[in-house]
Symmetry: C2
Subunit: 180 residues, 2 copies
Amino acid sequence: MGEFKKKIKLISRDLKYKGTIMNIYDDTVEVDGNVTHWDYMNKCDAAAVVPVLPNGNIVMVRQYRLAVDRWTLEIPAGKLDGDEEFLTCATRELEEESGYKSDNIEFLCDTYTAAAFCSEIVRIFVATNLIKGKQHFDRDEELVTEEWSLEDLKKEIYSGNIKDGKTISGIMTYAAKYNK
Amino acid sequence: MGEFKKKIKLISRDLKYKGTIMNIYDDTVEVDGNVTHWDYMNKCDAAAVVPVLPNGNIVMVRQYRLAVDRWTLEIPAGKLDGDEEFLTCATRELEEESGYKSDNIEFLCDTYTAAAFCSEIVRIFVATNLIKGKQHFDRDEELVTEEWSLEDLKKEIYSGNIKDGKTISGIMTYAAKYNK
């Protein structure tokens, strides 16, 4: 990448706020000799799962999201617990949120939540061979599970009714990769 | 949604940090009578574009993203300027970042960047009938444009090489909706 005229250099990264799940920094950045300030959020990673039933339908979760003040329809997901591996997290969140277990959870894609300002990676998996397990919500979590056909999910995405980013990435990548 | 046993109620939203592009709040939230604290980021919205050339290839942009310390491959995008409309932003960012103009920019999907903690919506469009315009980078921005086939982009997504969330949502939704 030696052709770039402008060089980006991090001068300092200063912690400004320690939140519940994120730390916020002010990055002093030199770009082509000019000093500017960029926001940076450091947040632990997460995993998400597209759970596919034998009939081809997808198990989705509906919940209230305060940050967007909306009920959303999403694929099961959650942040890594301590130094948990992505696959362990996906397996755990699948059962906790959807009530299904699976012995066949495969990598689908990785997603940067917001590469412009946030460190977070959400690794997305596909789970098949679903068997009934045990739902277990976090203390401040309440979800409703719903079964959806892939065709209906696509329509909801095209119409803008489904907006959750990791969900769109997961559902559409699943559809393309598995020729659905 | 009256069946929910737990009710989520925002008690207070307190500004904790004003950043360059985001404001960070501490939400005091009551869930089923229990008080807890959630992080909330308020950030202006953005628009993104999947620019499709007459030969079917996609115009992508490569840039260094400090927050993930990686060179990323993304679709052109940028935040709304003032009270700009999504379509105006998409039209502007398409030309500034890719150097192409278009008179045929259509809605593809909306994406919540991170509905668990962030207000941001990125509206994604598809642009066809591309004609040469004029690239114009922001002062602290440097991009390289690259032309990619949709098949090669899919492979990069399946392998985890392309990780940018809005890019995966845009590319895969485009592929499904337009039967590519």
